[in-house]
Subunit: 502 residues, 2 copies
C-alpha cells in the first residue's frame, strides 16, 4: 500500500539503490585484490561486468531521467523546483552532471571498454614481468582509440583530454592544469637538483619483522582515529583504501621485512583516505552529499596525513620512541637521522616509491604523454623513448628497462587516462588546506608531540568531509582558504622544509 512518492524522494531512492550496488562492487573489488584465489579471476570479471552494467542501467534509466528532468532543466541546469533545500539542490546539480555523463556512453561502448581493459590488464601484467613493451602496445593502442572515442562521446570545448579529466576532477581542464604543472616543474626541478641526497641510511636496511610492523600500524591508525569496529587493514600488492559503507572502510598495505618506511607511509596515506570516507555524512548515504568531492580532494586527504602530518618533526617526536620500543634495532638511531631519511629527496625510477618532491614530476611526465596521445602527437610505439627522455630531463635518471619505465603503472591498461593529474593536484590541495589548518591550529605541533591527533580528523571533517559533494572542489577550496587553487602553497612548503632541513 505504498503511496506515490514525490520526484525528489524517487530520485534519492534510485540513487541509494545504485550507491548500494556500487558498495557491493567495492567489496567485490576489495576481495579481488586481497583474498581471492588466483584462478577465480575470469569468473570475477563476469561478476564485475554484470554489476557495472546494472549500475549504468540504473543511472541512465528512464525513471531516473523523468524524475530528474521534472526538478532540474537537463539542458540549462536551471533548478525548476525552488522549494527544495540548498542540500537538495546540490544533489540535483550533481545528479544532472553525472546523468549527462553516463547517458552519453552507450552500454555497448562500456562493454567493449570493460572487455578491452580486462584483457589489457592481464597483458600488461605479463608484459611488465617480462619487460616487453611491444607485447603491451597493441592493447594500449586499442585503449587510446577507445579513450579518444570516450572523449568525443562525452564532449569537450577545448581539448579532448578535458572530457577525461572532468571524470575525476570536475571542472579541471588542460588550460588550467598546464600552467600549474609548468610552475611546479620550474620550481621543483631546481629544488631537486639542489637538495638531492642519495644517502644510504643503513639503519633502514635491517630486518623489520612483519608482525611487529603490523603492531606499529595499529598504533598509528588508532591514534589517527580508526577503530576495528568500523575499519580494516589487510595486505595487497599495491596499497589502497576503499569504502564499503559508512561503517566499513578498508585499507591495505604491503609489508616486506626490509622496507619499513614503505609500509608506514602507506598506512598513514590510506588512513587519510579512510578518515575522509568515515567523515562523510551517514544519514544522507546514497546521495551526492555523502560522496567524496573529487579524486584530487580525496588524494589531498591522504597526502595531508602522509606529508604534512606523517613527515613532520613533531609527529616523530612522539612516535619515534614508540617505534624504537617495537624495534630495538633502532635504539642507536637518532631521531634526526630517521627524520632525514624519511624526508630525503632522491630521484628514482618508480613513482609510488618517490619522495614528496620528485613524485610530482613523475605525475607531470604522465600527464604530458597522455595529453599528446589523445592529441595524436605521440604514437604508442614512441612511448618508451619519450618516457626515458623525460625521466632524464626532469629527474636525471634513466630506466634500464620498460618494467622500470613506461610499464610500471597499471593505470593505462585499466583505461585510467586523465587520472594521474589528480595525484599532483592532491599535493597542491593538501598544501593549501594545510596552510589554513596551521593558522587555525597554532598549537598543532605541541599536540602532535603528545601523540594527540584526533583534532586533525575533527578539523578535516568540519572543513571537508562533512560537506560531501555540496560544493564543487574549487568552491570548497575557496571556502577553506579564501583563494582559488594555487600551487605556490606546495612550492613554498617544500622550499621552507628543505631550507630548514639543510
Amino acid at each position: 500500500m505504498s503511496t506515490k512518492k514525490d520526484p525528489y524522494s524517487q530520485l534519492y531512492q534510485l540513487s541509494k539503490t545504485y550507491a548500494t550496488y556500487e558498495s557491493i562492487a567495492s567489496l567485490v573489488n576489495w576481495d579481488t585484490r586481497t583474498y581471492m584465489p588466483n584462478q577465480a579471476i575470469a569468473f570475477r570479471a563476469e561478476q564485475i561486468a554484470l554489476l557495472s552494467d546494472f549500475i549504468h542501467k540504473t543511472k541512465t534509466s528512464k525513471k531516473f531521467k523523468k524524475n530528474l528532468s521534472s526538478l532540474i532543466d537537463l539542458e540549462s541546469g536551471k533548478i525548476i523546483d525552488l522549494q527544495l533545500t540548498q542540500q537538495q539542490q546540490a544533489c540535483l546539480i550533481e545528479w544532472r552532471r553525472s546523468f549527462l555523463q553516463e547517458a552519453k556512453l552507450p552500454r555497448s561502448f562500456i562493454k567493449n571498454l570493460t572487455r578491452t581493459t580486462t584483457i589489457a590488464s592481464q597483458a600488461w601484467a605479463t608484459a611488465k614481468k617480462q619487460s616487453t613493451f611491444n607485447d603491451f602496445s597493441p592493447h594500449l593502442e586499442k585503449i587510446i582509440k577507445l579513450m579518444k572515442q570516450k572523449a568525443s562521446l562525452l564532449g569537450f570545448k577545448d581539448h579532448p583530454y578535458d572530457a577525461l579529466l572532468d571524470l575525476y576532477e570536475p571542472g579541471m581542464t588542460v588550460s588550467k592544469l598546464q600552467p600549474l604543472f609548468e610552475n611546479l616543474k620550474n620550481n621543483l626541478i631546481p629544488q631537486i637538483k639542489k637538495n638531492t641526497k642519495n644517502l644510504a641510511f643503513s639503519f633502514l636496511k635491517q630486518d623489520f619483522c612483519p608482525e611487529k610492523q603490523m603492531e606499529f600500524n595499529k598504533m598509528i591508525t588508532l591514534a589517527m582515529g580508526l577503530v576495528p569496529e568500523n575499519s580494516r587493514l589487510d595486505f595487497s600488492a599495491h596499497p589502497f583504501c576503499t569504502s564499503i559503507s559508512p561503517c566499513d572502510v578498508r585499507m591495505t598495505t604491503r609489508i616486506t621485512p626490509k622496507n619499513l618506511l614503505s609500509n608506514i607511509f602507506a598506512v598513514i596515506h590510506e588512513g587519510g583516505h579512510a578518515l575522509y570516507y568515515q567523515g562523510l555524512p551517514v544519514d544522507t548515504f546514497g546521495s551526492p552529499l555523502s560522496e567524496t568531492i573529487s579524486t584530487g580532494i580525496d588524494e589531498s586527504q591522504s597526502r595531508f596525513w602522509e606529508i604534512f602530518i606523517g613527515k613532520s618533526k613533531p609527529f616523530w617526536n612522539y612516535f619515534f620512541p614508540k617505534l624504537q620500543t617495537i624495534f630495538p634495532q633502532l635504539h642507536n638511531t637518532s631521531l634526526e637521522a630517521f627524520f632525514s631519511a624519511i624526508n630525503q629527496i632522491s630521484p628514482s625510477l618508480i613513482r609510488i616509491e618517490a619522495d614528496i618532491v620528485t613524485y610530482n614530476l613523475h605525475v607531470i611526465l604522465r600527464f604530458e604523454m597522455e595529453k599528446e596521445m589523445l592529441e595524436g602527437t605521440l604514437q604508442v610505439k614512441d612511448i618508451p623513448t619519450v618516457w626515458n627522455q623525460k625521466m632524464e630531463n626532469y629527474l636525471g635518471v634513466s630506466p634500464e628497462n620498460d618494467a622500470q619505465g613506461c610499464l610500471q603503472d597499471i593505470h593505462w591498461s585499466a583505461g585510467l587516462i586523465g587520472y594521474f593529474p589528480t595525484y599532483a593536484l592532491g599535493n597542491c590541495y593538501a598544501a593549501q588546506i594545510f596552510a589554513t589548518f596551521e593558522k587555525e591550529n597554532p598549537q598543532w605541533e605541541r599536540e602532535l608531540e603528545q601523540g594527540n591527533l584526533f583534532f586533525i580528523k575533527e578539523w578535516l571533517k568540519k572543513n571537508i568531509h562533512q560537506w560531501g559533494k555540496f560544493y564543487t572542489p574549487s568552491k570548497l577550496l575557496e571556502k577553506i582558504s579564501n583563494k582559488t587553487l594555487d600551487e605556490s602553497f606546495f612550492i613554498d612548503y617544500v622550499n621552507k622544509k628543505y631550507s630548514d632541513l639543510n
Copy 2:
C-alpha cells in the same frame, strides 16, 4: 548486431545472470561471517536485501516465464520441445520446479520475511548470550507464523512441513522421513546406552598452538585435493563452506588452543563440501547442471569425508604420525588412544559438538518439534520444556539453561525451518554411498594408509559431483547403490564400528 536467441539460450542466459548474482551474494555473506567490521551489519543487511530482491525478480520475470513455458508445460511439467538433449531437458525440469516455487512467494512476503529474520537473528544472539528464551520467543512466534504462511503459499499435499522440506531436499516428505527417523531412534538409542564412554582423554586437553593447527589443516586439505589457487581456509564463529565460483571455494574453521579435534574435523567436513563444489561441471555454470543436487546430498559429501574417511583407522595410520611431528606433546599418545578419543560416543548438549551417533538424535529432536510447531500442536512458549524432556529421553542429558538448550542454533531465527533433517539425511546418504565406494575400491584402506586420498575425490566426482542436478536425489542414490534411501546402511555401519572398537 545480436541475432535473436532461441528460447533455451535465453533461459540459460537469465539463469546465468541470477547465478552470477547469487555468487556475488555468496561472497557478501562470506565476508559478513569472516572479515566485516562489526558496525557494518545494518548496512550489510541493506546490501543483502537488495541482492535477494533482484535475484527473486529475475527468477520470476516475465521473460523467464515466457521462454520457459514455450519449452515445458508449466502446469503438467511435460517437455514441449523434444529436440532438446537429456541435459537440457533436466535443466527445464529444474527451472520449472524452482520457478513455480519462487513465483508462489510474493516480493512483499520475501521482504517481510527478510526483515523479520534479520531482526530475529540479532535478538537470538542477545537472548542466547543471556540465556533468556522469553526475549526470543515473540520473534520466533512471528517466524512460525510466516513459515505457516510460506507453506500455504508454496502448497502441499499431506503436511505443511512437506512444503518447507522440499526447499532443501526436493521430493522429501514427512511421511517418508518419519519412519526413517523412528528406525534411527530405535536403533541408535540402545547403541548409545550400550557404548557411551565419557572418558576424559587428558592428552586432548593440552595447548595446541593455532598456527600449528593451521599447518596441519593445510596438510589435510592439500591431501584431499584442495589447492590455494582455487580455494581458501579462513576463520569464523561457526565453520562453513561456500562456493563463490567454480574456481573459488571458501572454507572456514575455528581454532582454539584447547580444542584440536573440533578444528580438524571441521576442516575435513568443510573440505568435503568444497570438493563437491569444485567437482561440479564448469562449462555449464549458471545452469542446474552445475548446481548441488540437494542440501542432504551436499551434507553427505561433508559427512562422507568427516566420518567415513576422517574417523577411519587407515586415515590416522598415515596422519597421526604427521600430527605428532607437528605437536610433539602427542608423542606419548598411542594411535589407539587417539582413535578411541575421536570415535567416543558421549551424549552431550550441543549438536555441533556431538559424536557421529548422538548427532542424529539432536537432529530428530529438532525435526519433531518443528513439525509440531507447524501443525500448531507445540506452542513457542512450551519449547524449553519439550526440548529438555526430549534431550533427557533420547540422550539422558539435560541442559542447565536455554543457551545450552533450545537457543543453541541460529537456524530458527534465520527462518530455516525444514532444514535440520538434511543433516541426518546427509549421514544416511553418506553411509549408503560409502557402501558402494568400499565395494568398488577394495584397496581403499591401503591407499589411505599411504596418505593417498585423491582417488576418493575422483570417485565422488564421477559418481556424484559431475552430475549436478541432472538426477533427482533419489534417482542419483539408486544409480549409485541400486537401492532407494535406506537408513540401515548407517545403522549397520555404526553397529559394526562400535563392535570392532570394543
